[in-house]
Amino acid sequence: MKAMQHTHPVRDRANMIKLSNLEFVRDGKLWLRVPQFSCGPGERVALMGPSGSGKTSLLRAMLGLLLPTRGELELKQQATMLFQKPALLRCSVLNNLRIAAFLAGLSRREGIRQAMIWLERLHIDELAYQQAYRLSGGQQQRVAFARAMLKPSAIVLLDEPGANLDRQAQDRLEACLDRQYSVVFSSHDHQQVKRWADRVYQVDEGIVLERTL
């Protein structure tokens, strides 16, 4: 299996994410197969399928959190991810973001500045000093998104981004992800996929195939 590769910023139009003949085996059983998957620069690719079909596992594999049994997986640039469950740390919203900024290598001042920018974009800047665990699910999800975006990434992976969000919050989130980002998102929401995705892959009975929108 070819390991994940990270190259310098892409100057051509090559795919940002490319998966070929990926297979996942568990307890001796092949449970997910990806013959071919790609996401180009600035593209928005949706992953659809029933719960438990492997959408989240595929996203995790793209980040190296889950190793496929065989196949090729290539990411041209650094990626970040918004998980379905926010998983914020037990501290204030701003401190959650400052930790992300610190891990991204930003200075203290720049980290706070960028954190506030993202909170303002998502209209949750007034929550900066509140304890993250006191927020509603939707608010936590938006904080988690802001935190994910502090990592300089050209690729953004979203696991059920609309799960805890109302339509307005979803629109704001989508508006933040302009065409400078390549986005792969899993969703059950046909409306969102129709509205936002350029291409769709369906996970069906253990195989990931592209289908028409």
Partner: protein
Amino acid sequence: MSEASLQALGLLMSGDPALWAVIGRSLWVSSLATLLAAILGILLAFVLMQFVGRLRSVLTVLLNTYVAIPAVLVGLLTYLLLSRSGPLGDLGWLFTVKAMVLAQTLLLIPLACTLVHRLLQDADETQGESLRVMGAKPWMRYLFLLFHDRHALLHMLITCFGRGIAEVGTVMVVGGNIEGFTRVMTTAIALETTKGDLPMALALGMVLLLLVLVLNLLIALLPWWRDRLTGALR
């Protein structure tokens, strides 16, 4: 109430210097041992987190075995280390407070490590992937997990202190229970009881009981305090 109990209360109220010196020494030895064990336990837990699969399971079993070793055996091993013919004999620590701190630290390290390791494993399940995606290297990730569950760290400290203050095996063997020098609450209780001086033994027993009660109360209050400060998940 028996006469011995009343006399014990009287001893406590009167501020008997010998009594309070024993109490103070116990608190000092166990506090220092807890702090040292916590630091070393945390470092060991970090190391243990680096191992995966079967190897980690084997190491965890060995660690749990170490936790279960009788205190008097840890005292014996420390005695052998510090005796004149032992590898650390030149330190001259045997039958001093330093020896007692060392012995209790060795006793508490596996308990601290086990509790911290459990904390890290649990927190890593919910927070680990997010921290990895953010770019946290392993030891940085563990530090943030400790920060996330800092209230559980307090639980570890309280539990270790409770174990230390209440044990007699290690401090008796390496300290020698020397009056005015290495005598602590538990060794004093053992001695005074065999001498038949029940008021003194009872007075120390009351203090020990009160301490254990306070510690358990703190442990019981920790979840409430944590939720109050950081807010429970809705």
